[in-house]
């Protein structure tokens, strides 16, 4: 598991599929090979009033770690990550009288997955309860595990690939963690950040 940077790519009046098409042509031109598809999804549960102050549990799955369920618990003051194996979903069903999910909040990002050198690039179409919301580009540099060491290198790659839309600063979530060893839960945090933004934003109105 290497350092991963997740960034939004503006659609600029293009449709979602068209944008993905433009990006995949670009990455193929750089010499990438498509290696299957990927999917990251997120379901959010909120606590029932009887349980006291409201808390939120986000349950995420990432096809890169298919046997793991990631959960992030937000209490308002802090966020607690948890990684479990697949049966956690079953436990969430058992918890249905304590934590309930709103069906409109199911967010996912899916699309093609490419490998180019030691980089892994994923072009995700983001939908929130089936409404197209935008494009997320995930770039992973797999040999390196410390964000601070390879941020410049990743920035160069992203700018070479996305042009001016490439990020100039590390994602907000990573900024305090640049010296720590990167782990899959950090990718999940980044996805959740973006999903939360997308959920709040008005839909672009096009079906993906």
């Amino acid at each position: 598991m290497g350092v991963t940077i997740l960034t939004q790519f503006p659609t600029e009046n293009r449709t979602g599929p068209h944008t993905i098409d433009v990006l995949s042509k670009r990455i193929m031109a750089l010499g990438a090979l498509q290696q299957g598809q990927f999917l990251v999804d997120c379901e959010t549960y909120t606590s029932v009033p009887q349980l006291g102050p409201q808390r939120t549990v986000h349950v995420l799955h990432n096809s890169e770690q298919p046997a793991t369920v990631f959960s992030l618990l937000e209490t308002g003051t802090k966020t607690i990550p948890l990684a479990t194996d697949g049966l956690f979903d079953l436990l969430m069903m058992k918890m249905s009288s304590f934590y309930t999910s709103k069906k409109q909040t199911k967010a996912e990002s899916k699309g093609p997955r490419y490998e180019i050198g030691d980089f892994c690039v994923k072009l995700g179409t983001v939908t929130v309860s089936s409404n197209f919301k935008g494009i997320l580009v995930e770039v992973e540099y797999r040999p390196c595990v410390v964000p601070a060491m390879c941020w410049d290198l990743l920035k160069e790659f992203l700018q070479g690939f996305l042009g001016l839309s490439g990020p100039t600063n590390p994602p907000a979530y990573l900024q305090n963690r640049m010296q720590e060893i990167y782990s899959p839960i950090d990718t999940i945090h980044q996805y959740l950040e973006h999903f939360t933004i997308f959920r709040k934003s008005p839909g672009i109105g096009m079906r993906a």
């Binding site: 598809q37 999917l39 799955h61 802090k78 607690i80 990684a83 304590f98």
Partner: protein, 221 residues
């Protein structure tokens, strides 16, 4: 290449095929400290891991409950247990939901209860606490584990965790070892109960492995 399905899709598919081991079949008993060697010796002979010897464990178990009062009537309670190994430094924690005993018919040879068992990261304790769970009780179990087919036999000494004392100074709660014979299986595989009864028969009279009714036990003691 086909797109990966969502995790929930594959989970519901697994549920439909009934391949998730979510039922625990259980028999319990105990053996006095001075006879535990005899029992271990017999188990070594009876169980699968003959050449490697018994597997020892030293675990700390924390039992949480998640409860919400619904105004009137009994509160809804969800028990959750966390187990962590004290002897293996980087072993994952284990999270477990254990349901009520199924009432079923009296002729079933074992206790049957629903169970969801999974590995998890070490943040689980904080996660559960912040989720609203309350730590009900905790204990330390140290002993040996044996395997016979898909049956699991544990012989363990139960220690009380006294406040914030270090783990080394815990005191045992009785002069006996707890002996448990259990199988995790998908629901509906009642034949395993018969296998367990036969195996328990082979441990008599050293240990009387029985189907113990928690409710009766609760009112009895």
């Amino acid at each position: 290449m086909s797109a990966p399905g969502t995790a929930m899709d594959s989970l519901s598919a697994a549920l439909k095929c009934n391949i998730i081991p979510n039922q625990e079949y259980l028999l319990q008993g105990s053996v006095l400290d001075q006879y535990v060697e005899v029992l271990l010796h017999r188990l070594r002979g009876l169980c699968d891991n003959v050449d490697s010897g018994p597997e020892s464990f030293h675990d700390h178990e924390l039992c949480f409950t998640l409860r919400a009062g619904s105004g009137s009537g009994a509160p809804i309670v969800l028990p959750l247990r966390v187990r962590r190994a004290l002897d293996v430094a980087d072993a994952p924690f284990q999270l477990r939901y254990v349901g009520q005993q199924e009432l079923g018919d009296k002729n079933r040879p074992t206790v049957v209860r629903s169970s969801i068992d999974m590995a998890c990261s070490s943040t689980i304790v904080e996660f559960l606490t912040e989720l609203g769970c309350r730590l009900d009780f905790e204990y330390i179990a140290r002993g040996y584990m044996f395997r016979k087919g898909r049956m699991k036999i544990t012989v363990s000494k139960i220690f009380k965790v006294a406040g914030n004392k270090p783990v080394e100074t815990v005191e045992p709660i009785s002069q006996s070892y707890l002996v448990e014979l259990s199988v995790l299986a998908p629901s509906g595989q009642d034949a395993i109960g018969e296998d367990m009864r036969i195996f328990a028969e082979q441990l008599r009279p050293l240990v009387q492995l029985e189907k113990i009714d928690y409710k009766r036990l609760g009112s009895m003691m």
